[in-house]
């Protein structure tokens, strides 16, 4: 359990993930659900970036001449997270566009009111 204190980056990313998950669950507003999903994305990025760090080493950008390979941090999690950020942007844009269309169809973006209108045969 002492790892929970030394691994504080991972601990805070997990807590951030939980905050995003609870935002996703207890709001019925669709925009707030999208915000919660974005918070969860950010938590995953933080987790991966923390996994690539090595104590006392530089960013993998060569300045001047090439030092030995052991003086740079792990570049793979950093480059993988670029993909994650791009996919997060695309998914957010698509979800917001769908939300605009839902608002035009039903006149509201609260999920409760939408399902109420569906049940009572709204037309």
């Amino acid at each position: 359990m002492s790892r929970l204190i030394t691994n504080y980056y991972e601990v805070f990313s997990i807590i951030l993930f939980g905050i995003g998950f609870s935002t996703l669950l207890f709001h019925s507003n669709l925009i707030k659900k999208i915000i919660g999903m974005n918070i969860m994305d950010t938590a995953v990025f933080l987790f991966f970036a923390a996994k690539g760090y090595i104590e006392g080493k530089d960013a993998p950008i060569i300045r001047g001449e090439f030092k030995e390979a052991a003086s740079y941090i792990n570049p793979i999690p950093t480059s993988l997270m670029l993909t994650g950020i791009v996919v997060a942007v695309s998914v957010t844009a698509f979800a917001l566009a769908l939300t605009i269309m839902i608002y035009k169809e039903y006149g509201t973006i609260e999920l409760d009111e939408i399902s109420e209108k569906e049940e009572t045969g709204w037309k």
Binding site: I61, L82, I85
Partner: protein, 139 residues
């Protein structure tokens, strides 16, 4: 928006933002940055231009046709260039290889510079297209 201060400041600031974006894209293989970050800066400058001068002004320069054509051409160019590189790199074909040059020069790194430019074009126009579509529903 009809604000004279905003328009005059925009005239001064927007070219510098675009030059900085082009610098970030072109130095992507030498310093921090690259196609994604530089493309976002250029897209932000286009959004600022549209916010200040209104949709009529920017339609003379960037319209639906230009956005779609340049994005498609950049995507196709990326696929063709990198596909050529992968084929000649893996199989024993002895075709022409792009020289790597001396590391540190701006014209070095083989295909990295053209690929960075292609990614920058795609990302910049994507940011602008998102703003434009969400703002008034047309490109």
């Amino acid at each position: 928006m009809n604000d004279i201060i905003l328009k005059e400041i925009g005239k001064i600031v927007i070219p510098y933002i675009q030059i900085f974006g082009i610098y970030v894209i072109f130095n992507g293989h030498l310093s921090p940055g690259g196609g994604f970050s530089g493309g976002t800066v250029i897209g932000a400058s286009l959004v600022l231009y549209k916010l200040i001068y209104g949709p009529e002004m920017i339609k003379k320069i960037i319209n639906y046709k230009i956005v779609m054509h340049s994005m498609s051409i950049a995507l196709l160019a990326y696929g063709i260039l990198k596909g050529y590189s992968f084929i000649t790199g893996g199989a024993d074909l002895h075709l022409f290889q792009i020289p790597l040059g001396t590391p540190g020069n701006i014209l070095s790194g083989g295909l990295l510079l053209p690929l960075n430019i292609a990614v920058g074009i795609i990302v910049g126009f994507t940011i602008f297209a998102f703003y434009s579509l969400f703002d008034e529903g047309e490109l």
